[in-house]
């Protein structure tokens, strides 16, 4: 078999060295009753590459991939063009097939790349420090809430109505077991509304509040100034946790850190990683230096070797589960190293200049698209300010419209009905993301199809 180097001759020689008569002798500690006599039932025997490739390709063809359709989906996962060199580099065996850098002398490649990643994330988010990645944005968000609890020793978190509903859902799941108190709400679809629930948040902060969690741009695409919120949090001894699900936005707008956020977490997928039907993605986590010892996850840091040469190591592991066990800041072990590398390579290729240009392109495309789509009779643009994603209010339920567009080969957006089932006030909402991968013709195709749908 192609992945197994032992020959039968090898196996015999090795059993002889071990002093075992047969391979079964090595499984003597498995109780008789638990031993399977033969191969797993139902699973076919080993197969050639060709046969497996045929099977998997057949399944892949049953999906409508984004490249085959005018594509406008966002809501936490964004399609950007990733340079070919990114995938080439992360597939280098030395990156792809290495482990968590526990032996730093022979893992400087990974460690230096992570150190660069941390610096990029910290600067992008406007924070002092960042860690070496989390699973994804949603889990990073919950980790931020628990960190705020540890820092403030309070357990009430106020979640913005603009926070991604999956992130809210995850937090609710966890809070049910940890006892954290969550104050959540659903967004307001009134066109012209401020687009975030700043007033509610400002009012809710009190002396028991551990943190306020606010997403920017938020689930409807709104962008907002967080400065006042940060000031109020700090006044009350709470932390401001900001969530960024579209980091490309930070090429155009001020970072949460600059606006006063204490912890900034995010989903790094939109830079370098690709859609992948939701995973693997990469969680970004940054905060103020003073809180670093309460931070979850791995950290690469600088040190020197026995010859005095600069080198990198994993550090502050006394926060981590393999040292602290039940007293760790988090149970996270494996994170998203390779996706963090992809993020970092892509961001290095972009650089300041490229990221800003990319953000400009996205914004310009989104503004043009929003204006075009708002001309469709019956459709209203909900947002005042936005980056590359905005929400339309349709005169009918948006979910069937989305499905009907898909039947025509158009991936036209995410309906709020899918994200907030049962919330009648949101059923008409359609969130449309417009990145550099959407052409003007794509927008026109969507506009005309939407018009036809609504007229139908």
């Amino acid at each position: 078999m192609r992945y197994l180097p032992l020959t039968d001759a090898d196996r015999s020689a090795m059993l002889a060295r071990i002093g075992a008569a047969s391979i079964d002798d090595l499984f003597v500690d498995v109780p008789e009753a638990a031993r399977l006599a033969g191969p797993i039932a139902g699973l076919p025997a080993h197969a050639s590459e060709l046969a497996v490739e045929r099977h998997m390709s057949r399944l892949a063809r049953r999906n409508l991939s984004a490249g085959e359709a005018p594509f406008f989906l966002g809501c936490g996962a964004y399609r950007h063009h990733v340079p070919a060199s990114v995938d080439h580099l992360i597939q280098r065996g030395e990156f792809l097939t290495s482990y968590t850098p526990y032996q730093p002398e022979i893992a400087q490649g990974t460690l230096q790349a992570l150190f660069e990643f941390q610096t990029q994330v910290a600067r992008l988010f406007g924070c002092d420090v960042a860690n070496a990645s989390m699973y994804d944005g949603s889990t990073a968000c919950w980790e931020a809430i628990t960190m705020a609890r540890r820092v403030t020793k309070r357990d009430k978190a106020i979640l913005s109505a603009g926070l991604h509903p999956h992130y809210v859902s995850l937090a609710k799941t966890m809070a049910r077991f940890t006892g954290d108190r969550l104050d959540a709400a659903i967004p307001d679809l009134t066109p012209g509304a401020p687009g975030d629930d700043m007033a509610r948040l400002l009012a809710a902060i009190d002396g028991e509040t551990s943190c306020v969690v606010v997403q920017n741009p938020n689930i409807l695409g709104h962008v907002a100034d967080l400065s006042e919120l940060a000031a109020r949090c700090h006044e009350k001894g709470a932390l401001l946790v900001a969530v960024v699900t579209e980091p490309v936005a930070l090429g155009a707008i001020r970072s949460p850190g600059e606006m006063g956020a204490d912890i900034v977490v995010g989903e790094g997928q939109s830079i370098g990683v690709g859609l992948n039907f939701g995973g693997p993605y990469v969680g970004l986590f940054a905060c103020a230096e003073k809180h670093v010892r309460q931070m979850p996850g791995r950290l690469a840091g600088v040190t020197a070797d026995a010859d005095g040469q600069r080198g990198f190591v994993l550090t502050l592991s006394t926060r981590e589960q393999h040292i602290r066990r039940e007293k760790a800041t988090s149970n996270i072990c494996t994170n998203a190293g390779l996706c963090a590398l992809a993020f970092s390579v892509h961001l290095t290729l972009l650089g300041e200049t490229g990221l800003r240009r990319l953000a400009e392109l996205n914004h310009a495309g989104a503004v043009a698209a929003a204006e075009r789509l708002a001309q469709v009779p019956g459709v209203e643009l909900v947002n005042g300010a936005f980056f590359n994603e905005f929400t339309l209010k349709l005169p009918r339920e948006a979910r069937p419209v989305v499905r009907s567009l898909a039947d025509k080969g158009i991936l036209g957006g995410v309906s709020l009905g899918r994200l907030y089932p049962g919330e009648a006030a949101l059923a008409g909402g359609l969130v449309v993301a417009v990145t550099e991968t959407a052409s003007a013709e794509d927008v026109e195709t969507l506009a005309q199809a939407l018009e036809a749908e609504i007229a139908a």
Binding site: A13, T97, T110, H166, A252, G279, P280, A328, T353, R357
Partner: protein
């Protein structure tokens, strides 16, 4: 040539992408326009390719040689898996795309789920956990949900001392108190002590099987029976499932929940520390509490995605969502590709060869290195040694660093905690006998030097990209990001 940091260059004006001139529009950023540089250096493509290629060469990797990290399962990562995961039909689909347009993706999840359930002899599987520790969390949340549903507020999880650090950390992360279970002299869970501790406050136990001493827990079924008897549940840490896949089904041993590290047993790449993927198989008792979302096969052969909307009717007991979206799809395609490639005969051969290789290492070294449980029966997929017998002042660390100079990645050091100066060696099934012989020779040489007190060994590694690095200094005054005096202005 040493490779500097991207921040140490004068590269703030460069970019490795070409983008068209944006059309002029009236911006709608609401006054939030960025007004300060971010501080992100850029490299053109030739520079970036060179930077990361050079960095990569500072790494050791399975592609370069044996990587015998015990409990980490560094096996070969098939390239077909990488190719399949990159098919646009899998890689370029959005998690919120209309369900009718992603039936192939749902079929992959369903098919992989089916084989995971089959291979483990369990009842159901939660696919969304993002890594092993996240899977542990999923399992414990299911256990808590089951107790909640039964109106029980049990608060203790029992964990053996030899457990992975994630076990106690996870139990604590979801609100449990953690108590240790003692071990017998032969390196296994002490059934009597465990049974004695069981009671109405114990929610469950977390057991690793094969355990982190590399031994199969002979009493596993009896442990499960006792725990069930006492009203608790059994969580099995599946990190070592690769030792028994195709030969033993955890479901037959009474396990209620077990995560499966797709990046270990099913060969998806570790990538320098992730991404992993940790689906959790569940017993009939815990299945009702599995998290959202999940994939359900419909009568017409199509697939449906059960999310918050329909959970009320389809899956009322679910403890809820534990991540955005559907889990590590990219890892699912790789793992399914691997399972189909190996098939039933191949997977059984995988565990046999993994165990054979580990025992070969154990018996080729146990005359020179102390094997604390060498008399406790054959090891499974990994061989455990202690630092007993090394010369005064020589440690496991010296042996590890010495191995680097011999061209090998060291074994896992100082884990499990139950053995002094533990060295845990897991060769995996994808190593040839020739590679093992080379490794054994190297380790014998280094161990011999450590026993003889060869001072030169304390200076190892000498032939690595770096000499020994000072981890204490790094932690004392952590430098976690690059800082320079003044950021240059972003160029146009």
């Amino acid at each position: 040539l040493e490779e500097g940091l991207i921040f140490e260059r004068d590269d703030y004006a460069r970019t490795g992408v070409d983008l068209p001139e944006p059309p002029r529009v009236a911006g709608r950023l609401g006054g939030l326009e960025r007004n300060r540089p971010i501080g992100l250096p850029g490299l053109t493509e030739p520079e970036a390719v060179r930077h990361y290629t050079r960095l990569s060469r500072q790494n050791y990797a399975i592609d370069l040689g044996l990587f015998p990290l015990g409990s980490c399962t560094m096996k070969h990562n098939p390239r077909l898996n990488e190719k399949m995961a990159r098919l646009p039909g899998f890689a370029d689909i959005h998690p919120l795309a209309p369900v009718d347009t992603v039936q192939g993706a749902l079929a992959v999840i369903d098919e992989l789920a089916h084989w995971l359930v089959t291979l483990t002899g369990m009842h159901a599987v939660a696919m969304s956990p993002k890594a092993g520790a996240h899977g542990e969390l999923c399992g414990l949340l299911a256990i808590r949900s089951a107790h909640d549903a039964a109106g029980s507020d049990r608060s203790v999880i029992l964990v053996p001392e030899s457990a992975h650090g994630t076990n106690p950390a996870t139990a604590a992360f979801c609100g449990y108190k953690v108590e240790n279970i003692p071990a017998t002299a032969d390196g296994r869970v002490d059934l009597a002590a465990l049974t004695a501790r069981l009671g109405p406050d114990v929610a469950g136990v977390m057991i690793t099987n094969p355990n982190t001493c590399g031994l199969f827990e002979r009493d596993m079924k009896r442990i499960s029976d006792a725990v069930h008897e006492a009203g608790g549940y059994v969580y099995c840490d599946g990190a070592n499932f690769n030792a028994i896949v195709g030969r033993v089904r955890p479901g037959d041993l009474g396990v209620d929940a077990m995560h499966i590290n797709l990046h270990k047993t099913f060969s998806t790449p570790h990538g320098g520390g992730g991404p992993g993927s940790g689906p959790v198989v569940l017993s009939e008792a815990l299945a009702p509490y599995a998290p959202l979302p999940f994939v359900a096969r419909q009568a017409d052969g199509g697939f449906k995605l059960v999310e918050e909307e329909t959970a009320g009717e389809d899956h009322p007991g679910s403890f809820g969502r534990m991540t955005a979206f559907h889990g590590q799809m990219g890892m699912f395609t790789r793992a399914l590709t691997y399972i189909l490639s190996h098939g039933a005969d191949g997977l059984r051969q995988v565990s046999e060869d993994a165990v054979l290789n580990a025992n070969y290492v154990l018996r080729s070294l146990d005359d020179l290195l102390e094997a604390p449980f060498g008399d406790s029966g054959p090891c499974m997929h990994e061989a455990l040694f202690s630092d007993e017998g090394l010369a005064q002042g020589f440690t496991t660390l010296d042996i590890a660093k010495g191995l680097i100079d011999e061209g090998f990645h060291p074994m896992t050091m100082y884990f499990p905690l139950v053995v002094h100066g533990a060295m845990l060696i897991e060769p995996t099934e994808t190593e040839s006998k020739a590679a093992l012989d080379q490794f054994i020779g190297a380790l014998r040489s280094v161990a011999g030097r450590a026993r003889a007190g060869d001072e030169a060994l304390k200076a190892a590694p000498a032939f690595a990209p770096r000499r020994r690095l000072d981890e204490t200094a790094a932690a004392r005054k952590p430098v976690l990001v690059w800082k320079d005096e003044a950021l240059p202005q972003a160029a146009e």
